[in-house]
Symmetry: D2
Amino acid sequence: MSKIEVRRKPFIIGVMGGHEAAAGMLEESRRVGEGIAKRGHVILTGGGDGVMKAASEGASRAGGLVLAVLPSDRAHPLEGYPNDFVDIAIYTGMADARNVINAKTPHVMIAINGGWGTMSEIAHALRNDTPVIALKTPAIDLPYGKCFTAVNTVEAALAEMDRLLRVTGDR
Amino acid sequence: MSKIEVRRKPFIIGVMGGHEAAAGMLEESRRVGEGIAKRGHVILTGGGDGVMKAASEGASRAGGLVLAVLPSDRAHPLEGYPNDFVDIAIYTGMADARNVINAKTPHVMIAINGGWGTMSEIAHALRNDTPVIALKTPAIDLPYGKCFTAVNTVEAALAEMDRLLRVTGDR
Amino acid sequence: MSKIEVRRKPFIIGVMGGHEAAAGMLEESRRVGEGIAKRGHVILTGGGDGVMKAASEGASRAGGLVLAVLPSDRAHPLEGYPNDFVDIAIYTGMADARNVINAKTPHVMIAINGGWGTMSEIAHALRNDTPVIALKTPAIDLPYGKCFTAVNTVEAALAEMDRLLRVTGDR
Amino acid sequence: MSKIEVRRKPFIIGVMGGHEAAAGMLEESRRVGEGIAKRGHVILTGGGDGVMKAASEGASRAGGLVLAVLPSDRAHPLEGYPNDFVDIAIYTGMADARNVINAKTPHVMIAINGGWGTMSEIAHALRNDTPVIALKTPAIDLPYGKCFTAVNTVEAALAEMDRLLRVTGDR
């Protein structure tokens, strides 16, 4: 079985998005995952289908380690969780409460498109000072603060991630 | 100590909103709480200041039972939690993850104004088919579905609550 | 529908125990629930069958308010939850993580018999300084500390509860 | 910064134990962590001091990847969490409820010594069919079932882990 090279104390990049997503969004998700892995970062998703699976596939094929925080547990599996590209599954059995963990854990969150689940993760992230890069997510009529950047392309999302991680420094 | 009369299997009405709120919002929150209690329903909030406290005060003074699901626990208290009007405090120690419980438990949620915490509760509610009545909350550019009604007055909020509970029936 | 009288800021008494229990244990559970309600306290259980249901039935028939913190939620119901005697169900959707809430919320916990779920609740309670009264629970070879009392009869359990609440005072 | 080699879909081995532990227990914990890493498995702990830190140090020095599921979050740090040897920290902010995740996530749990926190993790593991290898943990007077093996040496713990993973097969 192939090996993955991981840095000590790597940056964790969350990629959040719906389990249903338009085809164009899936291709963009794959490219986001690929960009994360090529930089040596670890990707974290909710472990399901759609954006989560596509981003995980992109990261995995580019040689990255793929983490997922699942709503389900082994004793009560949920169809589609974890998707085929997850290397390390964190089983919570906590349903939607795992969204909070998804929002608190990453050094940077990239939200792609998304529905109410993704909205909850953006809201929890902004409450917890996790920087959010929003790629074509729905707008919310609230002051986003300095932790939020809306972008329209994968390239802009990755460039903003690079910038944020330079500011954060190594940890 | 005074007694509260509670129906067997009462309706639980969640009132969600920020711990900071404008004065006008506090007065509206009190009137929402009062309307809930006068109908014999039990109010549930996050147990803190602002909208949560004002709504709890309104319900308590009108003779209602006041529940709260707290982010903190007794061993690690959090200033302002629970507020003075809480009768029954559910201690979770789970910080933001308690927002999920706030969203899943009520038969109807009334969201008042609010910031990112309230946004997360609305998002979790809509993911879980809890009907949401939004009184002057920020707009989110996503299809809200049939579980969401935006209103502009306390009277409209309470009237919509009455309508929803008639549809739900007794439980 | 009949009304329940509840004190403002009542004492919450947790009753923990397995969803399967021997018949003798069920009768003792009912009497524990009855004793709690007759003293004007509110009972809190995990909302399921066995000890939880029997204690809730005892409390309910004696005119008490019955709370339950459920592992499930309305969108994903779990058979047997909540049992017929629950007045106010707190829906978490968090599976076993709700045991932590059961351990943190009550002023006093009475554990009856029980298996691994109950063991987890006793452990969480002792970590959080919730006093535990253990009625015929399995022994654990660890120093229990001052928060734990083992008893052999319902009468002794209720007497120890009375003593602990006098020490705690009104809150 | 040095790199770690990780297998695709590695086995996750949980090591649970107190943040306070006798010196002998720390040396045994280090050797358990070392044995896990030398076999190419990923270690998961609660991220704190004592057994958790020693096992993480052993795994890290042997070239292994070190995961931790923390009770705290970045916005509300908790002293000693994460310890110096954690590579990937999962932030929950859920206090004791993270013990449930510790119990559900590993393919095999090795519990070392331990107090009430560790007892709760053993109880949650046995409720969820996570195999538990107990190295000098306190006894609990309940039927442990086929998922539990008590051992007295690090070598026996690692041998039982090897056996369990052969049975589980690759995943």
